[in-house]
């Protein structure tokens, strides 16, 4: 008979499954708690001098400018594919002139911020974790602390600020090139009347739709860069640790974007 002191393998399998699930939930909650404390420390330090604007601009360049190519590529193809898929569905019920607004609204409210968030999590979030993680294992973070420099303020704050500012801008670029892609496919390949495409777009698309996407992107930018920097500081064991931290930054960054998207949507849909 099993006792509380017996080896876990001796417990019946349903017990072990429940125990494993419980352990995983506790780990996730502990991680969430640590990320919350890390964000709290960021808010505490971000408003305190010295303000290193040069570092923020460097990170804006890295997260923003250097992501433009992949954003333009993803945005244009997403818009084109959406136009195709929507057209063939809508044609069955003779509303193919609505392709423009449907694609544009989908991009503005959902696809642009979410896909931009996922792309930035993969490109910049991973780089943040790898850079800070490498600095941690090679004692560069210790060197900053010994000099009297707050490593969170010096390394994390510029990245989080830059990520929070860059993601809405990238999301707008995504929306723009996606809409252009949908326009080209809709009017040049699928022969939707240009005048109708424009008029329907004007009729159904509102500024609030774009605003919803920009607000989401702002939060995604904060979350992705906070998670990227957090996992960088959590790195402990050499190159393997850096790899693990980078991987976790990407996985958790993406999960947070998707989960947060649901909550933001359910909130924003009520107020906008």
């Amino acid at each position: 008979m099993s006792t509380s002191n017996s080896h876990p393998a001796e417990h019946p399998w349903p017990y072990r499954v429940v125990a494993d699930v419980g352990k995983s939930i506790i780990e996730v909650l502990r991680g969430l708690g640590k990320i919350s404390i890390f964000s709290g420390r960021f808010f505490y330090w971000v408003g305190r001098p010295p303000f290193r604007l040069r570092l923020i601009f460097e990170q804006l360049f890295f997260i923003g400018n250097k992501s433009v190519f992949i954003i333009v590529l993803s945005g244009s193809f997403t818009g084109m594919v959406m136009a195709y898929q929507t057209y063939f569905g809508f044609k069955l019920i003779n509303v193919d002139t609505l392709v423009g607004p449907v694609v544009a609204i989908s991009l503005a409210k959902e696809l642009a911020p979410v896909l931009t968030g996922l792309i930035v999590a993969g490109r910049a979030g991973s780089a943040m974790a790898a850079q800070i993680g490498t600095m941690k294992v090679t004692e560069q973070v210790d060197a900053l602390e010994v000099m009297g420099i707050n490593s969170l303020q010096y390394l994390a704050a510029p990245r989080i600020i830059a990520g929070t500012l860059a993601l809405p801008l990238l999301s707008i670029i995504f929306l723009f090139v996606g809409s252009v892609g949908a326009y080209i496919i809709g009017t040049k390949a699928l022969m939707i009347d240009e005048a109708l495409f424009y008029s329907k777009l004007g009729e159904f698309m509102y500024l609030e739709d774009m605003l919803q996407g920009v607000i989401k992107a702002f939060f995604f930018g904060f979350v992705v860069s906070t998670i990227g920097t957090y996992f960088g500081f959590e790195v402990t064991e050499g190159a393997e640790g850096v790899g693990r931290g980078t991987n976790q930054a990407v996985v958790w960054g993406m999960i947070f974007v998707l989960v947060l998207d649901y909550f933001l949507t359910s909130f924003l849909i009520r107020i906008l």
Binding site: E139, Q140, D142, A143, E145, V146, G148
Partner: protein
Amino acid sequence: MPDDIIIQFEGVTKRYGEHVILSNLNFSIHKNKITTILGFSGAGKSTLMKLILGLVHPTEGTVYVLGQDLSKLGDYPLREFRRNFGMVFQYAALFDAMTAYQNVEFPLKEFTNLRPSERDHKVRHLLTSVGIDDFGMKKLPSELSGGMRKRVGLARALALSPAIMLYDEPTTGLDPITSKMVNDLIVETADAHKDRGLTSVIISHDIKATLKISDFIAFLDRGRIVEYLPAKDFVNSNHPLVQEFVHL
């Protein structure tokens, strides 16, 4: 605290949970001298250094540095206080995205209001004094040898004219010739800054080098200072562990 004492440990114990790292340390480090903390791996040397820097605080007792109880300082004052230290890390810990020149310039840019020309003069002087030429100044840490990285690390540590230099395992991973060069550099640095009272604290397990360059040697074993003597008397210590270490 007497004038010639710069760091003082008073009944210092450091525990992480149930695990005792340092136990009831009572000793002082003399100003203007080179003191080496010797010990086997896991003896608590790194924790002792972190206590000196105020990166961790004692569970019991007090660490005084320049007469200041570090545990009484808040975050900002403690960070400012740390500018009294220069630290040379085991693997130099140079910022890998910066050149040798930029590494040395970094603390000056962060903490001084020197004009660019004054800063440039100081950086070049510091790097030249540790044997780095114009060509080496432009190199990234990844392009420098282990010995050169240590030199740049030393120049960076000296940039803000610290009162206390800390060396963490300065010769670990270096070949014998480079080790000698680093040890000579430590002594030269101490001599060059003697007039302003520079104190050097070295964490090491290199007994031969320690005997050559130190004024005082403390032997740390399992969290306790088991011997603390002037270097010239250290080899004659009767402590069995010290004898074992000396005759390794």
